[in-house]
Assembly symmetry: C2
Homo-oligomer: 427 residues x 2
């Protein structure tokens, strides 16, 4: 029996009632609930059990308040019979690499495990349209919510890509949680600059067992895009409107998640998406051109970079602490055109004397850092702070980790930070 994550009182309660994760159960408490028993994870208390209701939301129920519980069906634990897709030799091949996330979490609650629903056969069962567009090979690299992905995961993804740069695949889909998708997209954009194939990071804001899910729409659009496009490079391919007819392909260094829950949460900052997939057409943004870099992978990251948003009351000692803790770079999210208060100047001076790279972006997120307009900006330039144009703060952070990981010294890092490598600066 599977009781993943349950312990103590709640585990005892489930065993006594012969209920396991994945069962459809009916519960009488303050009200009547019907839903599937979900697994729990580390750090959970032992007073509650968690049900996934039919509306797609999870609810925690205190076991002390449950007057009756019964199993309505154990069906979800039985193996589903899934037809394997027939490969069509006329269609191009696409590789789908799964890293986890909502898009891959469809059957989590049925099995109690964390196997993503993205084996080729399960994908075919979930989104049968795909097998008419491409022959898709699937591969599970990890099964993590993207908030748990780290720079070492970026490296593993990039290394897997590098190994198929000359393969027969027309393009690559990365199924990825949406929380840190923009960070991974930036990391791949820099480490695999010039990668010869198009890559689509695809996620979903709502899981595929909910009626409003964007999982299938995004996957289908990404597959169409990869099959048809002449472009290479790293894109985030996600829902573009509140209706169901447009999917945007955002360039990997210019994209940001700007809403917690909307399906069209992702936006290109400082411009429009590179491509729009609308039914079977793919519209190119006339202003977009993928950079024509030679493919020379540099797959190292050094996370001794601190992202620091400036705010009134920020303690300058935090910069000294960073220096003393071995940080090599600070990316400021300054105010307005790229400022921090003059209370920070002395600490910035000290950090510069110790050889740190200090770059400036804006917490406004949109617009260009211009440090020549006001005295504050000019003072900071004189202190050695490097303006980073309209680089998105999170992109600048990832780029700094990458530059630090691949440069011989801070001078070379600064040179890499000033260079526009993957359209991260768009003005």
């Amino acid at each position: 029996m599977s009781h993943t994550g349950y312990r103590g009182k709640s585990l005892e309660f489930l065993k006594k009632n012969k209920i396991e994760v994945g069962n459809l159960v009916k519960i009488q408490a303050d009200s009547t609930y019907s839903g599937i028993l979900m697994p729990r994870y580390e750090y959970s208390d032992d007073d509650h059990i968690v049900l996934k209701l039919k509306n797609g939301y999870n609810i925690g129920l205190e076991i002390g308040k449950i007057s009756h519980i019964e199993t309505e069906s154990r069906q979800s634990t039985k193996k589903e019979t899934i037809s394997h897709p027939q490969a069509d030799p006329k269609l191009p091949k696409i590789l789908l690499i799964s890293t986890g996330g909502t898009i891959a979490s469809r059957i989590d609650y049925r099995t109690g495990g964390v196997t993503p629903a993205l084996t080729a056969s399960e994908l075919n069962a979930s989104v049968p349209e795909l097998s008419k567009i491409a022959n898709i090979d699937t591969e599970v690299l990890f099964s993590e919510y993207s908030e748990n992905l780290l720079p070492e995961h970026w490296i593993k993804i990039a290394e897997r890509f590098e190994s198929c740069a000359r393969s027969e695949y027309k393009g690559i889909i990365v199924a990825h949680g949406t929380d840190t998708m923009q960070y991974t997209a930036a990391a791949l954009s820099f480490s695999l600059s010039g990668f010869p194939k198009p890559v689509a990071l695809v996620g979903s804001q709502r899981s595929s067992d909910r009626p409003s899910s964007d999982a299938a729409l995004n996957l289908i659009a990404a597959t169409k895009f990869l099959v048809k496009t002449d472009s290479n490079g790293i894109f985030v391919v996600m829902h573009n409107s509140t209706s169901d007819d447009e999917v945007a392909c955002h360039w990997g260094t210019r994209v940001r998640k700007n809403h917690t829950s909307r399906r069209n949460a992702f936006q290109t900052i400082g411009g429009s998406p590179a491509f729009i997939v609308k039914n079977d057409s793919i519209e190119k943004n006339p202003l977009f051109n993928a950079p024509q870099n030679a493919f020379a992978p540099k797959i190292n990251f050094n996370s001794k970079v601190m992202l620091m948003k400036y705010y009134p009351g920020l303690d300058p000692a935090l910069i000294d602490n960073a220096t003393n803790s071995g940080y090599k770079a600070v990316i400021f999210e300054g105010t307005g055109l790229g400022h921090v208060g003059k209370v920070m100047y002395e600490a910035i001076s000290r950090a510069k004397r110790k050889g740190l790279f200090i770059g400036m972006t804006s917490q406004c997120i949109d617009g260009i850092v211009r440090m020549t307009v006001y005295d504050s900006g000019r003072d900071l330039l004189n202190l050695g702070v490097i303006p980073l144009g309209n680089m998105i703060p999170e992109t600048a952070l990832v780029k700094a980790m990458w530059a630090l990981g691949n440069a011989r010294d801070i001078d070379e890092m600064e040179k890499m930070m000033r260079e526009n490598i993957s359209l991260e600066i768009s003005d």
Copy 2:
């Protein structure tokens, strides 16, 4: 002669050529330039002089490359004759408090000083329309770019307001730099909750000597709004569109500067502005209602709050460092619905055991933190992290400084953080 900020070689150069700050000069270098000699500030090098060109931009010229320099006019240093506005007893009285910023920087470069252009007479000369709307008393509280304002400045502004809560003024304008305007607006919204008069923080994205300046438009709209509105509370009143016909009144806890340079940089997050001033009409957002709190000022701030944006590679030791450095609260800008990676859990646990308040907002900025949807969120709830709804991260930071400054202990602080005091939570 005024040579503010010039030293060494550049000072010598200016003295030799009998040129001082504020003079209109003509320079022959790689090209011919005509403009007004600007003052320089601390940390400037001594190789350059700075001209303000007629297009409003400043340019630094290397003195070694200047082949000829001559004074075209010294007129700007002579005292301007300004007519004093006639008070019209039928018009309501407005108090204008200046704190500095672009809106107040019009004559900086003429005098070489930092006196803001906001004495009553200068204001009348700059924006004569104002004297037909209200009788405006002006007062200079400080003359700082807003990136240099600190929580102690918030306190001074709030105390000045408190002293005129029962005055004859119909409303108050605060002239303020745009860089940290949203932080000050939030600080006043909490510390002066229930303030009986309407307050308009007004700035400009382009200084009033540039043709595209928004200074006059914003000031006129703010004055009209204060004179006509029945509402009280703290608003940010700024340009609302790329054309010149709309000014938005954003509620002080729901506003964010979302572009470095556009005149309509300020936006209400998660909704529409409270009011729109269009020519002489003031349109109220039907969804907006100012909270009806009793006026009970609590004017303390404790800046031992750390704003921490989560990103892949963020070192959990930074939380321990914060605890060890005496911080009492951490506001996370988590990912998505309000997550941080599980690498942070142990450090969060340790911080909670030491009694820190840990609140969660989202770096998506728009949308609501919902920590019950995914395991990551539920784990964090179990660790004692407090979800802050759709509070803007910067507003949450200011609120935490305020709550920490006024609560007896962390429990009371948590209670204040959960309470919706000034519409900072709008769902």
